[in-house]
Symmetry: C2
């Protein structure tokens, strides 16, 4: 017995081992299936495009397909996520570097699977001025082939290991599918960590640490995700295996938001990256990579947003608290009170702003702050000023509470924590509610994640994907007990795979 009925006709794995944090108690759930209404669920694409435009997170009017402009608000959001990523990987012993963008054709072509995977989607620089280049250069689609010839120079002996570096750069992929802001772009804001180790075991430990870092980041993004070890035909080109981090969007489809790859010696052999062991023997290094991108924003916006606009997690919102004076006309005393509260909030370390535009009505300011997803609004009118209080309004639930200035610091901290936890919990419920066990192909019809038995053969995998028009995203990285039958051939199977459409 591996699952239990969640009471709503949806079967959940008992252990919840597939989620990145402990399951949420049912009575804590803020969102039920019935509440999944609104444009977000009815016409996701239109809703998504609208809310990111209204929030001014990106400008899509740049005249090259798949290449958007990072607006001040969008870039600030990305920078805050990057800063947390940087903090986590620095703490894990990584060092930040920047490798050149352009990769010579001959270096790119050293690892066969990698070329197969990326060859069709690279942009080629062929000329400088009017001069044809001797060796064509490509724009990095990822940086293995830029870095690894140099790793060969950096690594001499075991004393140089582990080598753990990362960079945050733009990468380029000529997507032929329809592009979508933050999710499927041709110029992508990218994080890539690359590590080299003496042994496979050390590389395995790195992968576990990468997933722990991802968990910490996901917690602040309020974004549960599945950790799925991809099938062999779906792994990163050149990798031994790939763990995908997959977030569930309102569409019931998964979006890959992280990729963690075990390369073993594969690239090391192609690029001749060896080290001299303590015994004097030369061996190939073992390599891993950990990649993320601006998709974190795409997933975050999709998961938390509502029909009023985006909802940003407190940890990353460029403006965490917005003060709005409730005044029609002028009121210098109220403005003084606003400035006083603003100053207090700044001293507490919040990213805070005041919307003191005299010619805009408070109602429009509320509306705009909702569109921008500002986690907490502070309404300040005559009543608040007299009582030395403020009224706090949560963006995610609309809940209001009035607190005194003395309580403000504690209340804010508590509220921010509560919002973070509840936003995570709602997303977790949505994920749990949308995973279902399936025993036969006929029952696979909805837009959700199906857990099915699979015999492990490529043939059955291919048939399942074709018949269901879905992708096998893989098995749980941390494993799970399963005994069932391959949904295609009916053979007894202890492998459960997750089947879903993807973005």
């Amino acid at each position: 017995m591996y699952a239990e009925d969640a009471g709503n006709g949806i079967t959940l794995p008992a252990s919840n081992s597939w989620a990145s944090v402990p399951a949420v108690e049912k009575d804590q759930r803020v969102l039920t299936v019935d509440e999944k209404k609104g444009k977000k669920y009815e016409n996701f694409s239109e809703w998504y495009n609208e809310v990111i435009e209204k929030a001014d997170l990106t400008d899509k009017r740049y005249p090259v397909k798949g290449m958007n402009i990072w607006t001040p608000y969008g870039w600030k959001l990305m920078s805050l996520i990057d800063a947390e990523t940087r903090r986590l990987v620095d703490e894990n012993g990584h060092h930040e570097v920047k490798f050149p963008l352009l990769i010579p054709e001959d270096e790119f072509q050293k690892e066969a699977d990698h070329i197969k995977g990326f060859g069709d989607e690279v942009f080629w620089v062929t000329h400088a001025g009017s001069t044809p280049l001797d060796v064509p250069l490509l724009l990095r689609p990822t940086s293995e082939t830029a870095m690894y010839p140099i790793f060969d120079l950096w690594i001499r002996s075991h004393a140089d290991l582990p080598l753990k570096i990362y960079q945050m750069v733009n990468v380029f992929r000529y997507e032929t599918k329809q592009t979508r802001a933050f999710m499927r772009m041709r110029e992508i804001h990218f994080f890539e960590a690359h590590t080299c180790h003496e042994t496979e075991e050390e590389a395995e430990i790195q992968i576990r640490e990468d997933l722990e870092m991802m968990d910490k980041l996901a917690e602040k993004l309020c974004m549960p995700y599945l950790k799925l070890r991809r099938t062999d035909w779906d792994k990163f080109p050149g990798a031994k295996y790939t763990v995908g981090g997959d977030a569930l969007l309102p569409t019931g489809r998964l979006l890959q938001i992280a990729g963690i790859h075990q390369y073993l010696n594969n690239f090391a052999e192609a690029y001749d990256i060896t080290y001299e062991g303590i015994d004097g023997e030369h061996r190939y290094v073992h390599q891993t990579t950990y990649g993320m991108s601006e998709r974190l924003i795409g997933a975050m916006v999709s998961i938390h947003g509502d029909d009023k606009g985006v909802v940003l997690p407190p940890a990353f919102a460029p403006i965490q608290v917005l003060l709005i004076p409730i005044v029609y006309g002028e009121d210098p005393d109220l403005m003084d009170y606003c400035r006083d509260v603003l100053e207090r909030l700044r001293k507490m370390g919040y990213r805070v702003d005041v919307d003191d535009r005299p010619d805009i009505r408070p109602g429009s300011k509320f509306y705009e702050s909702e569109e921008k997803g500002i986690p907490l609004r502070i309404d300040m009118g005559g009543k608040e000023m007299e009582g030395k209080t403020v009224t706090l309004v949560r963006r995610d639930t609309g809940e209001k509470s009035t607190v005194s200035l003395e309580e403000l610091e504690d209340s804010l901290e508590e509220l921010m924590n509560t919002m973070e936890q509840e936003m995570f919990a709602r997303a977790q419920s949505h994920l749990e509610d949308n995973i279902e066990d399936a025993d036969d192909l006929g029952s696979i019809s909805q837009e959700k994640v199906y857990r099915i038995g699979w015999c492990g053969t490529f043939e059955c995998g291919e048939n399942i994907e074709e018949a269901t028009d879905r992708n096998i995203l893989g098995t749980l990285y941390h494993g799970e007990e399963y005994s069932g039958k391959c949904i295609w051939c009916g053979k007894e199977s202890s492998i459960a795979v997750y089947l879903c459409k993807t973005h």
Copy 2:
């Protein structure tokens, strides 16, 4: 009388108005002409390449000419400079954005002078996979032509002005001259601020503010520089005028480290960027830009370094203080003492590290910390441990002082400030000592900056440059009184220009 004899045969402008800070009193000068010895002055190129390699600021072995790898140490240094730049321009009301790298050919070709200036040195993307692109794309050499078609969409009325944005990105220029790390690269780490204003006056104010920001940054880089308004034939392609920030290298040649440009309506007309004024009329915006690059590092390293290695300014050194236990073998008590001091320094907010490698002798550690340019070394042996003291060693002068733990915080702060001021003062002296007035072409023979009279005509300017094999870098931005004769035609002239070879 505009100049006085500095007593060493070198003539200095009396006002020193050309320098970015008040002149240093002669008795405060730490470096005299006699001290300008050593490899740095004898073979600059070789010295420069050696010190940046020993400090591990960059890796030049990437297999594409003019494209180097940012090592962890070099990138950290650049990031710290970027952070200060960001702080300054944010405070000035700028917002950070990121525009796409690739620019369509047709957008690039809208401003004629700009194409003339950059056309020969752009990299062209012509293919994606094996498919030729319909419209060739170029890698930005600078971002006017990427941004301005969008500014046209962002700006509607006077309420949208001023528009002040910036980005920190890589730009690409196909340099045909010999490349040099941080100074002349084909992939360049670049800062570019772009502003739009209602009036020319407002744009002029922005330029003055840009120069004030540059002064603040230069102070922390310990780097005086000249602010020279370039001649018409040397301004930025498409600009009305350009102010170059020029630093003097040990070679006696100038290196441009900043460019601030007044565009007036020039690009606005080409890209049709208009705003509706308060009177309902549509007018072209007035634009400025402010650019800097990794050259800041190139200049900084050249100016402060010595034959032992680079010398980094306290404000930007990735490691500001390095603790070195003076021990041969093991000494757990001393290591405890080290950790205690390390913790204190961290709490004070310094970027600090301890070199506790057991198998390396203290002498080698000293040597290495000098190569890396770490501003302050703290030597800690048995004597220091017993007396609860530490010995501080300045990188720039080698000066040693022993202070008690109680005095440590104050002493460190004082020492850091003193170093910053003295490093600036030495660089300032070097600059002052290398500016000389010249009345006739025959006296222009040394590697230094000559101040000469010029009638202001293109013909004389061209002749002067050809005859002296030097560039006219322009007139002082803040102006200076001058009455002399054009060094070429002999006509009376109130224009003094600065003539020098450049890097």
